[in-house]
């Protein structure tokens, strides 16, 4: 069995809300592994805690109002990231673990050239000279498919389109050849043809550089095309975890099932293309007041008394041991998998 590159155990990241109206339990006991070289997709809707999870890994949670609770554990290459001092953490962040964000407009500094911003990480982490860093920057721009890299290296972010800026972000992230790339909605702000380019680029670079990718997205289509394994999050928790093929073929959590059924599909047969979509009733609850019992029960078509009273643990769903886990009481009583009228 391969040793995981990243091990997240019982991660809890809470926020104290502004009006003192309570504590938002944004991430509430999340556990998963990332294996070397694999792509793990984390999917979920707004407010499920997927972004806070990724920010917690790099300890980029603003404290206060946020804090990571004692008992949480994030191990990377054998070290607990949560106990490192700031200097040790800086040696990992942007170097061994890099991150790209959704919004390429606001995550680049407008007053530095893209070349300077790419070179900075190489200078800081690898102590290379300015000259060497500049040629590394040009090489990275070429690698991410930016035309005329010798010229583009001296451009400012505002001189580039959204797609080009996202390529620059990727060049910045990869200049130190990280072992893990965290990509948080890397294509959400982009048009579909540009999105296809960026996804293809990430796939190609992953193969070339042998890094692992933690891909955070709300788009099940992107996960289906890019991830080896998938973690589905709802209300601050992992509700289902499985190899990609298994998850799409046999979704077992009612939330995963509902999510898959509510996506309008391009490959829908013509007879089904028009007409009603299945939807999940209600909406995601607030992080200050997760429902009692199973957090999905108010929206679940199968819920019964136990779901309202008792919070289910992640249960093994069979198949190869430890590969498919589901946080749902239906696993203990499969006959109940018939929706209420």
């Amino acid at each position: 069995m391969t040793e995981p590159l990243l091990r997240v155990r019982d991660l809890k990241t809470y926020f104290v809300t502004e009006h003192g109206s309570g504590t938002a339990r944004a991430v509430d006991g999340v556990t998963f592994d990332v294996l070397p070289g694999e792509t793990l997709g984390i999917v979920g809707e707004s407010g499920c805690g997927k972004t806070v999870t990724s920010l917690s890994i790099l300890r980029l949670i603003p404290e206060p109002p946020g804090h990571i609770l004692p008992g949480s554990f994030i191990e990377f290459e054998g070290r607990n990231l949560l106990t490192l001092d700031p200097r040790e953490l800086r040696a990992i962040r942007g170097n061994r673990i890099a991150m790209i964000f959704q919004e390429p407009m606001t995550s680049l500094n407008p007053v530095f050239t893209v070349g300077d911003q790419i070179a900075e990480a190489a200078i800081v982490h690898h102590q290379v000279s300015r000259r060497a860093a500049r040629s590394r920057a040009i090489e990275m721009l070429r690698l991410v498919g930016i035309p005329d890299p010798d010229e583009r290296v001296d451009h400012y972010p505002h001189q580039m389109s959204g797609g080009m800026r996202q390529r620059v972000m990727i060049a910045m992230a990869l200049v130190c050849r990280p072992q893990l790339l965290i990509a948080d909605e890397p294509t959400t702000a982009l048009d579909v043809t540009i999105q296809a380019q960026i996804l293809e680029l990430i796939d190609r670079l992953q193969a070339e550089l042998g890094m692992a990718v933690l891909l955070i997205t709300h788009d099940l289509g992107i996960v289906a095309g890019s991830a080896d394994r998938v973690v589905v999050m709802y209300a601050g928790q992992v509700v289902e975890q499985a190899p990609t093929a298994t998850l799409f073929a046999r979704p077992l959590h009612p939330y995963t099932e509902g999510l898959l059924a509510s996506v309008p599909r391009l490959d829908a047969p013509p007879a089904r293309a028009r007409g009603r979509l299945r939807s999940i009733p209600g909406q995601v609850p607030a992080a200050t007041a997760w429902p009692e019992g199973c957090r999905f029960h108010p929206r679940c078509p199968y819920a019964w008394d136990r779901c309202r009273a008792e919070e289910p643990p992640l249960l093994d769903a069979g198949g190869e041991p430890g590969t498919h886990a589901v946080r749902c009481w239906l696993l203990t009583d499969p006959r109940r998998r018939t929706p209420h009228p």
């Binding site: 809707e45 095309g225 799409f248 996506v263 979509l277 999940i280």
Partner: protein, 337 residues
């Protein structure tokens, strides 16, 4: 009514012919220097929508699809072209008559956060159009507000809420209720579900389908998501750089796209099925600026068609009928990708 429009059985409720909107280029800093080239946001767009039907207008950012919707309602004045709704020429109307016509055509915006007044309750937001158009006041308006909320799937108790107390899906329902309050025949839906989470998106799409059937509404559904459009549209028009490059009944367009841009767009949409992963056509380069559209066919610099040649660089291909009801602006539309 023009005879040349591809006539679906009943005569169209909405007819757009040769719509043009160019935004003048800005001057440099302090208004000095030569103005930049005009942005050709909408560059000769024509289509018709039959009563009770939905036209999906799709394209990527900056293709001009939202400008089409807004110029149709004269929220932006078009430069040229003719828009008729139920036989009335929208462009010829003076302010008063235009306001009367606005009762019959409404718009729902993408951003349910920016399009609702944060200082008004839902009741005030829904009662305002009723008062402006002299439909109802007082207790009568209150009853209508409650009925509207119920129709869009909200509990009437939401009438006392402010926008910030609502979720994205609830806000979008209020936006739809506001548009419906004046009992329009025609709705421009400008990316009405793209800001919503997928589970809520499905709820709102179902609502729009139900309302259309119940009220026999006609929709212009503007979107970038071809999968969403497949779900709701009877006809689809694809825009690129201010022009419609393909227009067809939805089943034909999805089954056999004739323009290489449509084909590429469809192939770029991620499909939520790991077994159905196909070879994507990844277009090279980016959409050119609508201030400097390429010569000839506007798509030629990115076109993956193997037969692309000099003619594409010089001759703009006209939008022409390739199959019954299916129009495409490509020299090689008979030999699609």
């Amino acid at each position: 009514m023009t005879a040349s429009a591809p006539a679906p059985a009943p005569s169209p409720l909405v007819d757009v012919q040769g719509l043009v909107k160019h935004f003048p280029g800005e001057r440099g800093l302090f208004g000095l220097g030569r103005p930049r080239a005009a942005v050709r946001a909408v560059d000769g767009v024509s289509f018709a929508i039959a009563p009770g039907q939905t036209l999906g207008l799709v394209g990527e950012s900056g293709c001009g699809k939202s400008t089409v919707g807004r110029t149709m309602l004269r929220l932006i004045e078009p430069d040229r072209g003719r828009v008729t709704i139920d036989g009335q020429d929208v462009g010829a109307l003076k302010a008063r008559a235009l306001r009367a016509l606005r009762r019959r055509m409404q718009i729902v915006f993408q951003d349910p956060y920016g399009s609702l007044n944060p200082r008004m309750t839902v009741r005030q937001m829904l009662a305002e159009p009723l008062a402006i158009h002299g439909i109802a006041r007082g207790a009568d308006a209150g009853q209508r507000v409650a009925a509207l909320l119920e129709e869009v799937g909200l509990d009437p108790s939401f009438a006392a809420s402010y926008a910030h107390e609502l979720s994205g899906g609830q806000r979008q329902r209020v936006g739809i209720a506001r548009a419906l309050s004046v009992e329009p025949q025609f709705l421009v839906l400008d990316e009405p579900v793209s800001a919503l989470d997928v589970s809520v998106q499905a709820q709102v799409l179902n609502l729009l389908t139900d309302l259309q059937q119940r009220r026999r509404l006609t929709y212009l559904f503007i979107a970038h998501d071809l999968a969403v459009v497949k779900h709701i549209a009877d006809h689809v028009a694809v825009m690129y750089l201010g022009k419609i490059i393909e227009r067809a009944p939805a089943p034909a367009l999805y089954a056999r796209p004739r323009h290489p841009y449509t084909t590429s767009l469809l192939s770029a949409v991620p499909v939520p099925d790991p077994k159905a992963q196909h070879e994507r056509i990844v277009l090279v380069g980016e959409v050119p600026s609508p201030a400097h559209p390429p010569s000839g066919c506007p798509f030629h610099p990115r076109c993956p068609h193997p037969r692309k040649n000099d003619r594409c660089r010089t001759d703009p291909p006209p939008l022409r009928e390739i199959a019954p009801g299916q129009l495409a602006a490509c020299h090689f539309a008979e030999d699609p990708l």
